[in-house]
Symmetry: C2
DNA sequence: GCAGCTAAATGAACAGCGTTCAATATATTT
DNA sequence: AAATATATTGAACGCTGTTCATTTAGCTGC
């Protein structure tokens, strides 16, 4: 034991995050097991504490990785829509991408919001930065849709993310409110368009 | 020991839900312990299985109770606003009430959405009905604000619940998107008003 | 009043969890 | 080659939820 040269510390963290992602995607946060991830990675229980401080630390790293994958998906959708399509289509592509990640990987998506840090523990600045990428993509897109003199674009953009998030959340958690709604994604997009129109968008 | 006459089965369930509520509100879902609830109620471990089938069953009952408390809060706010105030004030009262429960009892609110049922287990019809009360309150209010001939009022109402929920969710989970937003509740209300206006509301 | 019965309540047993930390095995340095 | 440093281990601990044979309280009929 003690294979110091097999991987650098960063490679090892990436290995655990990769296996952790696979496991979390299969069983969900409620049945997530750090021991199981260590077993899959071929390392012992204690290694998680070495690398991430605790299982919560590992989950933070896994969720930050989810954000990056999610952001990549949004960028793909935007690229597929193209630059010279109606602006409304690019907004639709964003909403589509937001839902797509949640629907493809419901457990990973749920874990992002279900995982709460223990009392003392704050989200490291590094993770904050990685997660902010997603919001930035939306902000940039909203800016191009609104008039140049529109005030507080970032605030409106984030509020619109919340609008879409609410619909998505109800779909994934199977919540009461949208059980009979045949097209939640369409509803989310409709709300977004109504608010954009109210701010002079188009 | 078997103290059959101390409580009826329903009283016993209520006792566990009450203690469970207190415990869940203190430590949150991640550190919730069925054993601890049983201890507080003065009963043994196995009793949870007798009464609720499993700890998940107990959590379902606790969360359904949360919905009722939440709905009562909304009704209070509406009553405080009064019947002869501007319609917009009653909408504001609803948004206020939605946030108020989440802010007063963040752990109870989070648990509602963080708790996912195990694979085979479906939400009992009884619980669904109890939880639907909250949505009904909103539906009734939205109906009075929209023109009589407005189509699909229930669907729009539920979508607006999702709008508010999204903002509330970001606040409680401390999510990246609304960290710098000074007034998330105001943003939620603004989005709701924009959509109501788009549907001829007022 | 007492025996027999039924069902409520128990709690030990089990497998699994996250965390801790002395012990160990491998690199590196001297 | 020996000494040092450090990456990795895994047993131990206290906790979790679930199970179920056992115990006990309260009711029923004699």
């Amino acid at each position: 034991m003690g294979r110091r040269s097999d991987h650098t510390r960063e490679e090892l963290r990436a290995l655990f995050v990769a296996h952790g992602h696979a496991h979390l995607g299969e069983v969900g946060l409620a049945r997530f097991s750090g021991r199981e991830v260590a077993k899959r990675a071929g390392y012992s229980v204690g290694t998680i504490a070495n690398l991430f401080g605790s299982v919560d630390g590992l989950l933070v790293a896994i969720n930050s990785r989810s954000f990056e994958i999610w952001a990549d998906l949004l960028r793909e959708r935007l690229a597929a829509a193209g630059l010279d399509c109606p602006a409304a289509d690019r907004i639709a592509a964003l909403v589509d991408g937001y839902f797509a990640f949640a629907e493809r990987q419901p457990e990973l998506w749920s874990a992002i919001y279900a995982h709460r840090l223990p009392d003392g523990m704050a989200l490291p600045e590094d993770d904050r930065e990685r997660r902010a990428g997603l919001t930035r993509i939306v902000e940039d897109e909203i800016r191009t849709v609104l008039p140049d003199d529109a005030p507080d674009v970032p605030r409106l953009a984030r509020s619109l993310v919340a609008v879409v998030h609410g619909h998505c959340s109800f779909v994934v958690t199977g919540s009461f409110a949208l059980l009979e709604e045949p097209d939640p994604k369409g509803a989310a997009l409709a709300r977004v368009r109504e608010s954009l129109a109210a701010h002079g968008g188009q």
